[in-house]
Symmetry: C2
Subunit: 149 residues, 2 copies
Amino acid sequence: MLLSKSCVYGLRAALYLAAKNDGEYHSLREMSEELNISFHFLTKILQQLTSDGLMESYKGPNGGVKLSEKGKKATLFDMVIAIDGPGLFTQCALGLPGCGSQEPCPLHESWIDTRASIENMLRRTTLIKIAEEGKAKHFRLTAEGKFSW
Amino acid sequence: MLLSKSCVYGLRAALYLAAKNDGEYHSLREMSEELNISFHFLTKILQQLTSDGLMESYKGPNGGVKLSEKGKKATLFDMVIAIDGPGLFTQCALGLPGCGSQEPCPLHESWIDTRASIENMLRRTTLIKIAEEGKAKHFRLTAEGKFSW
DNA sequence: TAATTTAAAGACATTAAACTCTTAAATAGA
DNA sequence: TCTATTTAAGAGTTTAATGTCTTTAAATTA
Ligand code: FES
Ligand code: FES
C-alpha cells in the first residue's frame, strides 16, 4: 500500500475532526467507535500527531483531541510526513541508498516525475477542504459507510 | 515504500538479465553476488517469476534463469503485478474495502488520477528498453554502484 | 478530598514481510 | 554409474508493522 495503516487511520481521524469543525475536543473513544479503529492503536497515532503540533489534546472529562491551528491549515502531505515520514518522497524506486541525479538508477527519471505527481496530489488539498467536500457529497469514511458526517 | 522488497529485488534481477540479453541461463549464485541480494531470497522471488512465465529456468551445471519471450516483452507493470499483485492499482487510498465511483471515499477522485499516473509510468517501459538505457548511460543497479553492465 | 473521566506512556502480543536453511529433484559430465 | 552443479520446494527464523493491555498523569465534578 502507498500509505501505512497508521497513516490511513490518522487521516481518517483528522478528516473526522475537520468535518466536525467545531472548536470542541472529541474523545478517542468516540472517534474509535465512529471510525471503526482500535481505540488503543488510534491513541498511539493521535499522540504522534499531537506531539507534532497538528492536533491538541486535553485530559479529563470532556477532554479529547481537536485540530490545532496548524492542523486546520494542514494538507494531506503534512499528515503523511508526520506519520510515515518523508521516505515516499525521497527514496529510490529500486530501494538503493540515496536517490539523486548524481548516480541515478535506471528508473530515476521516470520515478521522480511520478513521485512528484503523488506529492502534488497530497499537497494540493487541505484536510478542511476535503472534509467539506466529503460532507457535502456524503463520501464514505468507514468500511460499512455507516459513519455519517 | 511503493514496491515491496521482493518486487524491487525481482526488478533488479530482471534488469540484470535484460541487460545481458544473451540467450544464456545465468545462475542465481552469480546474480545474487553481482546484485548483492541474498541468494535464497532471490531464489524464492525468481521461482515466482518463473512460474508466472516471465522467466525460464534450467537445472544442473550451467543452468540458471533467463527471460522468457514473454519476459522480453514485459513492462515494469507486468513485473509488479507478478510479485506484488494488483493491489497498488485497485485499492482505496484510505484502505477501505472496494474502491469505485459507486461509494467513493473523499480521496477517490484525486487518488484514481495519481494511481493511473503510477500505472502509466510502469506500463510505459519494457525491461529491455530500460536495461538498454541503463547500459548506455551507466546507471547504477546496486548500492555501491559496483555492478557494471 | 475522593471519585470519575480522559489522554500519555510504555510494556506486551500478534501478524505479515523479510530472510535463512535444509532437503529433494533435475541435469551434465567424468 | 557416480559426483558435482544447479533450481525447486518447503520449513524455520528474524524483524518490523500492527494491535492490545496496563499503569500513570492530568483534569473535572461532587
Ligand atoms: S536513484 Fe533510483 S529512483 Fe532515484
Ligand atoms: S474509494 Fe477510496 S480511493 Fe477509491
